[in-house]
């Protein structure tokens, strides 16, 4: 409220100044003062150019200062600092040119305001100048393009072999997360793989359309939040289920649309665990965020999910606890083709009625699976760091 009163006050004062100024010029006309072509009006207007320049610059700097807390958060991925550097270099160059040109644009109208005894200099053309200020920006921009190209190529290159895979499916209005399971690896598979999917198989329980005719899908698990490992590349496989959504991980400088009918991908490497970030920021409530950044309907504003970055050991312990999707939805066993029934049962373990034990039974995913490999070594890609 005080702000509004303040604003109204300022406007009123300005109006009063203008009125005084008008009255004065009227008086001078009435008095019959010799009419100069250097009018007060022109002098005031000329001065206002400089006033506008100063006020504008102050406003720009002040608002950037105040809004600094809303700028991008500290980068927590390997490519993050690179894109940040590019951003700030571009900002620095264009910002310098912006201020230089605007200072001249505003100062010249003041400096060269109308004077009786001066004539404008006739200067319609100078080809050399034109060439200079075509070529110099072109060179600067080319340098920016080249540095940008290099970073862009690195970011969009293929994910490294050892990257872990996570599937993110955007739907109105939350993100579904699917991990390739741990059991296939225990059964001797080289790399954990996500099972196939088909949008026609989607229903109220099978939210991402897991295709159970693919044996890779038997051990896929679908936790609520995203868990990532510090220092380990992660390949996001992104899908949209109904309309466009967009994966936005601001701290990791990741953004990629989720497109129905066209799976997309993005890979990156987290560099800080959630715990480290909490200490670094002195904020015990800090969490990495997965948001949607493409308007997708009524609930778009609240479409977000947690991302937890942890050490390999913590991740392994967490992954080992996860029940596969099929194990918690045993009624879908009927969708598994007859020749794979045996294998599915071997992976998800024998059922104890329709309600499989929830994740509270840490050490007992399935007795026979545990016999094949130790539960502490769930995924092949994990094996180099844990035994």
């Amino acid at each position: 409220m005080t702000n509004i009163i303040l604003g109204v006050g300022i406007v009123l004062i300005l109006i009063i100044l203008v009125m005084i100024f008008r009255v004065q010029s009227l008086i001078s006309i009435v008095r019959g003062a010799p009419r100069s072509r250097e009018t007060t009006s022109n002098k005031v207007n000329a001065a206002l150019w400089v006033v506008l320049l100063v006020l504008g610059s102050v406003a720009i700097i002040w608002s950037s200062w105040v809004a600094a807390e809303y700028f991008l958060p500290d980068a927590s991925s390997e490519h993050g600092p690179k894109t940040d550097d590019l951003f700030w270099i571009t900002m620095g160059i264009t910002g310098a040119v912006f201020f230089a040109t605007h200072i001249l644009l505003f100062y010249f109208p003041y400096k060269y305001q109308f004077r009786e005894n001066r004539k404008a200099s006739f200067y319609p053309d100078n080809n050399r100048l034109e060439v200079i200020w075509t070529v110099v920006p072109a060179i600067v921009l080319t340098l920016l393009v080249l540095s940008g190209w290099k970073v862009w190529r690195d970011i969009t290159s293929d994910a490294p072999e050892q990257a872990m895979e996570v599937e993110l499916v955007g739907k109105q209005f939350n993100w579904l997360v699917r991990y390739p399971g741990v059991k296939q690896a225990e059964l001797g598979k080289k790399k954990a793989e996500l099972g196939n999917f088909n949008y026609r198989l989607i229903d109220a329980s099978n939210e991402v359309g897991i295709d159970l005719t693919d044996e890779n899908s038997f051990d896929d698990f679908m936790p609520r939040e995203v868990h990532l490992v510090k220092g380990k590349p992660v390949l996001l496989k992104i899908r949209g289920r109904d309309v466009l959504h967009s994966v936005f991980l601001p701290q990791f400088r990741v953004k990629m649309d989720a497109v129905p009918g066209m799976p997309t991908k993005f890979w990156f490497t987290p560099t800080h665990t959630t715990k480290e970030m909490r200490e670094q920021l002195g904020n015990p409530n800090f969490n990495f965020e997965l948001a949607c950044t493409e308007v997708c309907g009524r609930g778009h504003f609240s479409m977000r999910n947690l991302v937890i970055v942890e050490t390999q050991e913590e991740f392994d312990a967490w992954a080992a606890k996860q029940q596969s999707w099929l194990a918690t939805h045993r009624d879908y066993l009927s969708k598994v083709p007859a020749n794979l029934q045996q294998k599915a049962l071997q992976i998800i373990g024998p059922g104890e009625g329709d309600n499989a034990p929830a994740s509270d039974s840490t050490a007992a995913p399935a007795p026979d699976a545990a016999a094949v490999a130790p539960a502490t070594n769930p995924i092949k890609m994990v094996s180099n760091s844990s035994k």
Binding site: N42, Y112, F114, L129, P137, A138, W149, D257
Partner: protein, 396 residues
């Protein structure tokens, strides 16, 4: 054809206001002020319609920015205007999106395209090239009335029960294609599409007129190398509009097909509202390409007239010719060409092939060069001038 119909007494050599008595026949009020073929009247019609839309568009942005800036604020005081769209003191989330969508649409198309080009091109082109009126006064009249019709439809869509279109001013499908995806994708979206189709027709009729007038109706001695920079900028603007608006038209048409006839230009593999849709093989990216093929040039449809007017005002008030007249034309020409080659910079993270992305990154930075040239030329024009700082019109 209609240039002949225009009372020839609009003699521009002495364009005073007291020419009414010169008329051969008295025009009825309707012919003169409403269904007028006079470019000056049409310009004013565009101006006032544009101003109306500017007021509507700005009020919308005030409302949704209040909500955005002060999320805890009680918005009940807006109930008298917005009624049921205020829920428990907050904007209904879908109505919030609808406001953002309509604000974008109104400002970009109705204010900054029709309001700007429609007003200034119509008013100034015949005056500054020394023509009696536009090449076709009749088409010019149609152009305004298509715009009017389109405005009426868009305005109507604000008052329907399910609200206006709400999928963003870029109306990306599948959100805009599926009525079950949000309220605004129902009737509101249909009205948006029909309104925009009419708007595009209006812009094409206007654009053809501007281009034809500049090319054919210049007064003797008004060669292209003497044309005021305002006219050059209106000319390039019209060319851009003529080449890019038809693409938006086709995008809208295909979207209408997807919405009504079950085609799958933009739709594939969709499960929504408990149902897997039969559409297969379409791509939302196709729409994005078509949309931004207009969407980016649109930036320059908005910018070029402003640059042209600036050039003229700076030069006139500086009492000296603009610095680098030819370079100014050249840079506008470069902007015109390049504006068609940068559209996919709106799609870097849409799932576009990264290699294509790098090409568009290059072209996008290059388009900054002609813009920079213009700024430097302005500075040099202002150097050692004698400036009369005043309003461009009406001062002593």
């Amino acid at each position: 054809m209609a240039a002949v119909d225009i009372p020839a007494k609009h003699d521009l050599a002495h364009g005073h206001d007291d020419h009414d008595h010169d008329h051969d026949h008295r025009q009825s009020f309707i012919r003169k002020y409403i269904f007028s073929e006079d470019h000056k009247i049409i310009a004013k019609q565009y101006l006032f319609t544009g101003l109306f839309w500017a007021v509507v568009g700005v009020s919308m942005s005030l409302i949704f920015r209040l909500q955005l800036g002060f999320p805890k604020m009680n918005m009940d005081f807006l109930k008298p205007i917005l009624g049921g769209w205020i829920e428990e003191g907050k904007l209904n989330p879908e109505f919030y999106l609808a406001l953002v969508t309509m604000h974008g649409t109104i400002m970009v198309f109705f204010v900054l395209t029709a309001g700007l080009s429609g007003t200034f091109s119509n008013f100034l082109i015949p005056l500054q090239v020394g023509a009696r009126d536009m090449a076709s006064g009749f088409m010019n009249m149609l152009s305004y009335w298509f715009f009017f019709l389109s405005s009426v439809l868009m305005f109507t869509s604000l008052f329907i029960e399910t609200g206006p279109a709400a999928g963003g001013w870029v109306i990306y499908p599948p959100l805009s294609a599926l009525p079950q995806a949000m309220l605004g994708s129902g009737l509101g979206m249909t009205l948006w599409l029909v309104s925009m189709a009419l708007f595009i027709i209006s812009q094409l009729l206007g654009g053809v007129n501007y281009v034809t007038t500049v090319i054919n109706l210049r007064t003797p001695g008004m060669s292209f190398s003497r044309l005021p920079l305002t006219i050059w900028s209106f000319f390039f603007t019209a060319v851009i509009g003529l080449l890019s608006f038809p693409v938006l038209f086709s995008a809208a048409l295909l979207l209408i097909f997807d919405r009504t006839f079950g085609t799958s230009f933009y739709l594939s593999d969709i499960y929504i509202a408990g149902e897997a849709l039969p559409q297969n093989g379409g791509s939302p990216l196709l729409f994005q390409h078509l949309f931004w093929f207009l969407g980016h040039p649109e930036v320059y449809i908005v910018l070029l007239p402003a640059l042209g007017i600036t050039s003229e005002i700076i030069a006139t008030n500086s009492r000296k010719p603009i610095f680098g007249y030819r370079a100014m034309i050249g840079s506008m020409m470069a902007i015109t060409v390049l504006s068609f080659l940068v559209w996919a910079h709106h799609m870097f993270v849409s799932g576009l092939n990264p290699f294509l992305g790098s090409i568009f990154m290059f072209l996008t930075l290059i388009i900054a060069v002609p813009s920079a040239v213009k700024a430097f030329n302005y500075i040099t024009t202002l150097w050692r001038e004698i400036l009369y700082s005043r309003r461009p019109c009406c001062s002593q």
